[in-house]
Symmetry: C2
Subunit: 212 residues, 2 copies
DNA sequence: TAGATTGTTAATCGATTAACAATC
DNA sequence: TAGATTGTTAATCGATTAACAATC
């Protein structure tokens, strides 16, 4: 019923939206009211043409002769990305990476709220991280039902990720943020976003080897 | 003087190499000796044509009528990515994310060795994480010189990342793995790879909102 | 009104896929 | 040899850039 304007947007454009949002957020913090595509392009190291082309996929956010109002554009992109929904998040796997996420204040500024931490390890269950008590994974179904959780971050070893993905999916989670080095296909009705740290590091290794 | 064959490779191909490597690594662990582009394409959810096209940018790794030898292809991609170099790594910022990296055993399997941890916080300096003692940032120049460090992972708050990037660059680091939500341009002669966790989360939020 | 800058079309460029000849 | 599957060219598709008319 909403986002009717958001159809047939190319994946390449969508991938760039979060980055636009980050730059606009910084401009807003600096108290900058308006910006032209040319100025923004110099900041972001992309072409002004691409910026105008990208933003126009979602409607005319700018004004000829003026440019873009930073706050307006910022808020519109937030809506497109769904940041205004105030998504709730649980972290499954409370190792150091899970704890890092639980402590990362940046996410709440983007409208994400971490509401629960889970683990299978009895030693970890009951501990407190950033004012949240780590719960046992068995409590997950009841918790998700009572709290209406949107997203599950899986910070688990490779060997457990696939199984746990299926469990949270069965509990009704619709989005998985996966940190294990595996691609989680074949989970019906769930959208998965992967953070493959080792692939990023390999990329860096390649670039290091092939520097000018 | 080396990698003379690796010229004019498209960025799109290079971005996919680490993923090929991950799948081949899994096949190798499963004791699979040979694989065809068609089988691999079914595993990876890409087209067989793309796999053949991609791999051929680096030379003919396969054999008609047979397919690809998993171990050979695995090792060749490792070389292309520079994983055979045994890169050394330091972690700057020993918060929970930095500690998570220091404990992540996966990296050593890919030929990366974490040789040092650094922090500015006197409370953290002197602590031990995964058998490494956290050093003060002032020791960085001497450490890099004596150990010949290749990569610096920056797990720092936004406010400190830019300054620290410049410091490690001045110490002779040639590659930065950046975890702060900022793009580090303008550091001459250094290659930067960003892990923008919040952009990944925003992407997930978009996908959640626009699911079929 | 004149100047600036967007919105948008058209042109270019790059990346993916299809097809098949080469060859193991 | 026959069958399988690569390597590689050509065709298609998608994404980026250039250009400029529309308009604030």
């Amino acid at each position: 019923m909403e986002n009717t304007e958001t159809k047939d947007i190319s994946p390449a454009v969508i991938r760039r939206l979060p980055r636009y949002y980050r730059y606009l957020d910084a401009l807003l913090s600096d108290g900058i009211e308006r910006i032209s595509s040319t100025e923004l392009s110099e900041n972001m190291h992309v072409t002004a043409s691409q910026i105008r082309q990208d933003l126009n996929q979602f409607g005319g956010f700018g004004q000829q002769g003026y440019g873009y109002n930073v706050e307006y554009l910022h808020d519109e992109i937030a809506k497109i990305l769904g940041l205004d929904k105030g998504h709730t998040l649980i972290v499954v796997g409370t190792g150091r990476l899970g704890q890092a996420l639980a402590n990362y204040s940046h996410f709440s500024k983007l409208g994400f709220k971490i509401v629960g931490l889970f683990d299978v390890n009895e030693k970890v269950v009951g501990q407190t991280v950033n004012r949240l008590t780590v719960r046992h994974i068995d409590e997950l179904p009841a918790f998700i039902e009572s709290h209406g959780v949107d997203i599950a971050a899986l910070t688990l070893p490779l060997s457990e990720a696939e199984k746990m993905a299926r469990i949270v999916a069965d509990c009704g989670i619709k989005a998985i943020w996966n940190f294990a080095p595996v691609d989680l296909y074949s989970i019906e009705g769930v959208t998965v976003e992967n953070v493959h740290l080792s692939e990023s590091l390999m990329q860096l290794s390649y670039n290091l080897l092939n520097m000018k």
